[in-house]
Homo-oligomer: 254 residues x 2
């Protein structure tokens, strides 16, 4: 009667927490999107696996709840953190239609993982050291007007901005559109970064200006960072200073 | 010559990733703020420990760099994620004053951890399922006017807002001031949450309205979540729907 929603981190089993690993070991049934299930399947033998393709999230989560209610210990897995554009919310929303006494019998727990914002930031250096906004450019579930407004307000507030789902085949120009909005408030030289396949085979990263980012292709495997006005390139890293006074350093004019 | 900056997660050693654990095992010297060092010291015997109190971050990080340059393998530890209000940025900033050839010889790596935003969200349910802003209310290194502006813009954009450092002894009324700003844009019934001592002994959580949050005391061990206009309480959880269509559910008017 366990129902765990588990964030796997960026994809490499090394980025799992001990808590997540123990929860996966404790569950006989593991439910997830085909691609993520395939990433961890070799590390957890002798399990029942239920996987469904993308866009079948509601069916997948309902199958997990029904399996748990039937008496199984079930883990729903997501890449990154289950609570950031993951399955935690949908599982809890679906539980709303079950009576409280049934829900109480389930031992439901969300187990956090390293979200792409944090995993990719570590690859680039330290871009998220100051206040930041996380925005998904996917308009499958959110109207583009709302995404555009959030981009504009985050840029006005000089937040560091981390973009999830920056582009897809159908949305090839969304990152360009997003950069054009930010460019209304932030200079073209703003230091930005891209990380692709965080923590997986073929990981790559790049630091570039906002103007250059505008003309750079991205895909669903890319996480994008737009710096604030203090963000700098230091050696090979993208760094947003927190504001510590460093004795002996020449202070730049702000 | 290793220099790792490691996020420990919320505090319980169970929230460490395997990657972070291996890195800690590989290092002979561990550097950190006294409180965090004491949390993990029992789990990593036979190490050299360098700890300094709060507000001595620059000295602490410089000591870590000097130890690594002298040939030691050094881990700088932070609670949560090293890249979110942690030490990753300061370490990289301090490396700026060293010549590139010296920096190249150091094997510098940031190892991510579960940041409080994600750790606390998992305790509450799923408050961060949609676009969110992370804002620290500490004005030690950031002018209050900038914090206030960011709060206003994030509220205008209907971002879920996660607040770090919501109050301290000297800043007893900062959470109240922050809520007053958000209340200019969001209704008093907005669903909010508080988590104290995430993942540690004495962990506690509470879900309450924005109006009630305004009059609730908080401290440096508290992480605060202000929902967006879709955030709801479902059973005992705080949930921000992502927007999935759930067949058979009565659709609410927006």
């Amino acid at each position: 009667m366990k129902l765990y929603v588990i964030g796997l981190g960026p994809g490499n089993p090394d980025t799992l927490t001990s808590q997540a690993k123990k929860a996966l070991q404790a569950c006989g049934t593991i439910v997830g999107y085909t691609v993520y299930v395939d990433l961890i399947r070799p590390h957890f033998p002798h399990k029942e696996w239920i996987s469904t393709p993308m866009r079948q999230e509601v069916d997948r989560c309902r199958a997990a709840i029904e399996a748990a209610l039937s008496g199984k210990d079930v883990a729903v897995v997501c890449s990154g953190d289950a609570g950031v554009y993951g399955m935690a919310g949908l599982i809890l929303e679906l539980l709303e239609s079950y009576p409280a006494e049934q829900v109480c019998r389930l031992e439901t727990q969300v187990i956090p993982g390293i979200t792409a914002a944090c995993g990719g930031a570590a690859v680039l250096g330290a871009p998220l050291m100051h206040d930041f906004a996380v925005i998904s450019l996917s308009d499958l579930l959110t109207p583009w007007e709302q995404i555009a407004q959030r981009l504009a307000l985050a840029a006005q507030g000089d937040f560091v901005i981390c973009l999830y789902n920056p582009a897809s085949k159908k949305r090839a120009d969304y990152l360009q559109k997003a950069c054009d909005i930010v460019l209304q408030y932030q200079p073209g030289e703003t230091v930005c970064g891209l990380v692709r396949h965080i923590g997986r085979e073929g990981e790559s990263a790049r630091i570039l200006s906002l103007s250059a980012l505008r003309d750079t292709p991205a895909d669903m495997f890319t996480t994008v960072y737009i710096g604030n006005r203090q963000t700098r390139k230091i050696h090979q890293w993208m760094v947003t200073p927190r504001g510590y006074q460093i004795p002996g350093r020449k202070e730049e004019a702000h």
